[in-house]
């Protein structure tokens, strides 16, 4: 296959077939995809979860991940936090003419590896090629289907007075990694994105038997946005800021750049609102799973006026507001 993607690769002709056969099929190979029908024909349970997400991250490759890993995790995580078991994905790409085939192979490998890690199959896809400088290299859209197996029910997604909020992993890593990669600033160690599938984390939590009332993966807008949305249901959420896990290097970079870790994007963090009585059970299950070893209780839910508050390290209280209008680079 040629070294660069050309407009002809998007034309549906011989070169398109060659790209599908040499790049996509070997990477994603599974029997549903290999039928190559106009639609994938799959089996799912009675109720399914269905979601879609577009990815325009810049840079395409960043410390800790790339657009391929990100586009699988983004959709898998949206399915997982709904309570479903992620099962099938579609991958639709818009590629700029002149994009290096080798880079495309890397992205496909990353998609395949992440899909296999998350236990999902790529069952259908589409590829378009546009003129140079029209798509920042590559844009990817993934859609996904998750099923509610016998032991899974759709979550009500409503936090309840008396709940505790558990955060599964250190926050702000993705936002900081991409911001730093884009700016060209030199930090040592180089901050890495946390991008990872959350299906295992959700599994660990739900299998613990803890009463879980809501789950979210706090991507754009960060932990602050998710908590503010949850509080809209008429409760107050009080965060003990010193308990929010942040990696030391990430926290230092935030201090230097004047960024608030609570407002930065995550791609591998689960926030769960759990009945207080089951807190210990939930924490133990999470801490025994590889992607949530530093899970911690960060907040409590009380009756109130839909406000989110933070207890600072000196014991004072400040409002936490929905993040707004910041000029930040595109990060997902």
């Amino acid at each position: 296959m040629q070294e660069k993607i050309t407009l002809a690769h998007g034309s549906g002709g011989e070169l398109y077939r060659e790209m599908v056969n040499e790049v996509f099929l070997p990477a994603y190979s599974n029997e549903i995809l290999c039928e190559l029908g106009d639609s994938a024909v799959c089996t799912a349970g009675e109720r399914i979860a269905f979601t879609t997400d577009g990815f325009v991250v810049n840079p395409i490759f960043f410390p800790g991940g790339d657009i391929g890993r990100l586009c699988v995790c983004g959709t898998v995580n949206d399915l997982a936090v709904s309570g479903a078991v992620p099962q099938y994905l579609s991958v639709s790409m818009i590629i700029e003419a002149g994009f290096e085939t080798e880079k495309l192979r890397c992205i496909c490998k990353s998609i395949a590896d992440t899909a296999s890690e998350a236990g999902v199959r790529i069952v259908t896809g589409d590829t378009k090629v546009v003129e140079g400088n029209k798509a920042d290299g590559i844009y990817i859209t993934t859609s996904g289907v998750g099923v509610f197996t016998a032991d899974r029910k759709p979550l009500g997604q409503k936090v309840v007075q008396g709940d505790v909020i558990i955060c599964s992993a250190p926050v702000a890593s993705h936002g900081v990694a991409v911001t730093v990669a884009r700016s060209g600033m030199d930090f040592s160690p180089v901050p890495c994105s946390d991008v990872k599938p959350l299906s295992g984390v959700v599994d660990a939590l739900l299998s613990s038997g803890a009463e879980v009332h809501a789950m979210r993966d706090p991507t754009r807008g960060g932990v602050a946005a998710t908590l503010c949305e949850w509080a809209r249901d008429g409760v107050d959420i009080t965060v003990d800021l010193k308990n929010v896990p942040v990696e030391a290097s990430v926290s230092e970079i935030c201090a230097v750049l004047g960024l608030d870790p609570l407002q930065l994007a995550n791609e591998g963090v689960l926030l769960a609102s759990v009945a207080k009585k089951d807190c210990a059970k939930a924490l133990e299950a999470l801490r025994n799973y590889q992607y949530s070893t530093s899970a911690a209780v960060i907040a409590e839910v009380e009756s109130g006026n839909s406000e989110v508050w933070g207890i600072t390290d000196i014991g004072t209280k400040r409002r936490i507001l929905m993040p707004r209008g910041e000029v930040l680079p595109r990060i997902c």
Binding site: S183, G258, I314, K317, R319, R324, G325, V327
Partner: protein, 351 residues
């Protein structure tokens, strides 16, 4: 000492003090004080007042107008620190001009402008330089490097300011401010003794503070202590970063490239010897001399009270526009634009 102990000590000291107002003149202090909700931890008779400490906020409209004029010229790249992009001027801003097609780039370091100039030899690259003692040395290095390498297409629109002259102008005479919390970053360059003018000329005590909660609280405690004992001193409460004499090479380089001059501040007007201009020897790199910049007259007064807020005479919440028509998305005045501005800090943390 731990935060709780310092807070307790401040409460004890403050009992004998009556009502006192302490001004901070650093945008990072403003922001960090409110991020930690420190005013809440203080006794009722201690009031914190934000002064003119955010470089974006004090940049005069005429300077922003000059930057917009240059950005609108053909084959020109205008570089500036990110926060300047959104400051409104007339019916646009640098960000507005950028979306209309002007080549405006945000940089995190002055030296990036040199790189951009090298990469675009057919364009005029202009660095819009703002800030106090902390950012000035970077601009000085930029000009020195450009001179050494004979870079013909780079120039600097200089709007640098010095902290001491502005603080003196603001606090001379009856100002109602009892003590000053001095900016740790500026003091890294000027040294502790750079703030001796506060006790000597302004006759109020001062403490240089760092930026952690405990740093700021410790400086406030030392200020209460000095007020209690009627001591007139400038105390260094940030010794892990600030030395007695400061950063001599940075200061020498600054004054090799720049000289003091009268300068216009937003909200404070023109202040003698409070600004820095490029010396004649380096005039080749002075954008004000390289380009013909049209005169500026401010048309309609804005419905906000930025100038009073910058002087510490009013709180952001006293402004009729605050959080109603003036928000971080649609700022009327510069205090709301910059994340270091007092209105932005109040908007984020104190509503």
């Amino acid at each position: 000492m731990r935060a709780a102990e310092i807070i307790e000590a401040i409460h004890k000291k403050a009992k004998g003090l009556g009502n006192i107002a302490i001004m901070e003149v650093c945008g990072t202090h403003t922001n960090e004080l409110h991020r930690h909700a420190i005013p809440q931890a203080l006794p009722d008779n201690i009031r914190l007042v934000s002064g003119p400490g955010c470089p974006v906020c004090v940049t005069a409209q005429s300077d922003i107008h000059a930057a917009l004029s240059i950005a609108g010229m053909k084959d020109t790249v205008l570089c500036c620190y990110g926060d300047m992009l959104r400051v409104p001027c007339g019916d646009t801003s640098l960000l507005g001009m950028k979306s209309d097609g002007a080549d405006v780039r945000s940089v995190v370091s002055a030296l990036e402008a040199l790189e951009i100039a090298r990469e675009n030899p057919l364009k005029q690259v202009v660095f819009f330089a703002v800030g106090f003692e902390t950012t000035t040395p970077h601009t000085a290095v930029l000009i020195e490097d450009a001179a050494r390498e004979n870079v013909g297409n780079l120039s600097v629109l200089c709007s640098h300011k010095t902290m001491p002259a502005a603080v003196t102008a603001l606090l001379s005479g009856k100002s109602g401010i009892d003590a000053l919390m001095c900016p740790g970053h500026v003091a890294c360059i000027t040294g502790r003794k750079g703030f001796d003018f506060v006790p000597e000329k302004l006759k109020i005590p001062a403490a240089i503070a760092g930026f952690e909660a405990c740093d700021m609280l410790f400086a406030l405690l030392k200020i209460c202590d000095m007020l209690e004992k009627s001591q007139l001193e400038c105390f260094n409460a940030y010794t892990r970063a600030v030395s007695e004499n400061g950063n001599d090479p940075a200061l020498r380089l600054t004054y090799k490239i720049f000289e003091e001059s009268e300068c216009e501040w937003r909200g404070l007007g023109r202040i003698t010897e409070s600004g820095l201009v490029i010396r004649d020897e380096y005039s080749f790199f002075d954008a004000r001399r390289r380009f013909e910049i049209p005169d500026f007259t401010e048309k309609n007064a804005r419905m906000c009270i930025c100038s009073k807020i910058l002087r510490g005479e009013a709180l952001p919440s006293d402004c009729p526009s605050f959080a109603s028509v003036c928000t971080p998305e649609t700022p009327l005045g510069a205090c709301m634009v910059s994340s270091e501005g007092s209105c932005a800090a109040y908007y984020k943390y104190e509503r």
